[in-house]
């Protein structure tokens, strides 16, 4: 494959990934809103899985800030899951805000 072809494929993949990011961020915000109202370990595990996937993919698509922010939020989610039946959620919500900033930056 020629380099321009490869470059085109990479750019197309990157653009597609970036286009899907806001919907993913919205889904994460919806789960976070549920958790803010009432802690639910099942929902938190789902949130953690989505964060893990974002962390593992962002930088591969050229968005290292998304990976870093998602990793921080995943760690905060893990800490909340280990924090008993009613864990403090401020660190997790703060980390999710950081992720939202990184996602917005990826759109620009």
């Amino acid at each position: 494959m020629s380099s321009p072809d490869l470059e085109r494929q990479l750019v197309a993949l990157r653009e597609g990934y970036a286009e899907r990011l806001p919907a993913r961020a919205e889904m994460l915000a919806e789960i976070a809103a549920v958790l803010a109202q009432r802690w639910d370990a099942t929902a938190a595990l789902e949130l953690k899985r989505h964060l893990h996937n974002l962390a593992g993919s962002g930088a591969s698509y050229g968005f290292p800030d998304v990976s870093h922010a998602a990793r921080a939020a995943e760690d905060a989610c893990s800490a909340a899951l280990a924090g008993g039946p009613s864990p403090p959620l401020v660190p997790l919500m703060s980390a999710l805000e950081g992720l939202a900033v990184a996602v917005a930056k990826a759109q620009s």
Binding site: L6, L13, R49, N53, S57, S60, Y61, P64, R71
Partner: protein, 131 residues
């Protein structure tokens, strides 16, 4: 004589990661690749595909990478196929644990798609250094 690395079975549940890895390994790396989205799917596919190497995500819903490796090792037909874990968790203690379980090596996610194929080849070559 060092065996050739041609066929790779790639196991990853996240579609975005799978897509960029396929570009890296097939288009850039020239490997013959079969992708699976779960450990169970990989166990179904592995004998028929007969890969030289398996790239295995660690954290997957259902059967995770460690359980999948255990199942591969328990089957005489697949027990000797080299497995490289791909994980976003790559602290030294975790890497040591994965190696103790029988993984050939560990590749950290997120990976750079422009160098992933070279990383895989380097692992393969290190594992097949002639004395």
């Amino acid at each position: 004589m060092r065996p050739n690395l041609t066929k790779i079975l790639y196991v990853e549940d996240e579609p975005d990661i799978q897509t960029i890895a396929e570009l890296a390994l097939v288009t850039l790396g020239g490997f013959q690749l079969k992708s699976c989205a779960s450990g169970a799917e990989a166990l179904d596919a592995v004998v028929g595909f007969a890969p030289d190497l398996i790239l295995l995500d660690v954290m997957m819903p259902g059967m995770d990478g460690i359980a999948t490796l255990g199942a591969l090792r328990a089957n005489p037909a697949t027990a000797d196929i080299p497995v490289v874990f791909m994980t976003a968790r790559s602290q030294p203690a975790e890497i040591a644990r994965y190696r103790s379980l029988g993984a050939l090596d560990v590749i950290t996610k997120p990976f750079d798609p422009l160098v992933l194929a070279d990383q895989v080849r380097a692992i393969w070559q290190r594992a097949h250094v002639e004395p």
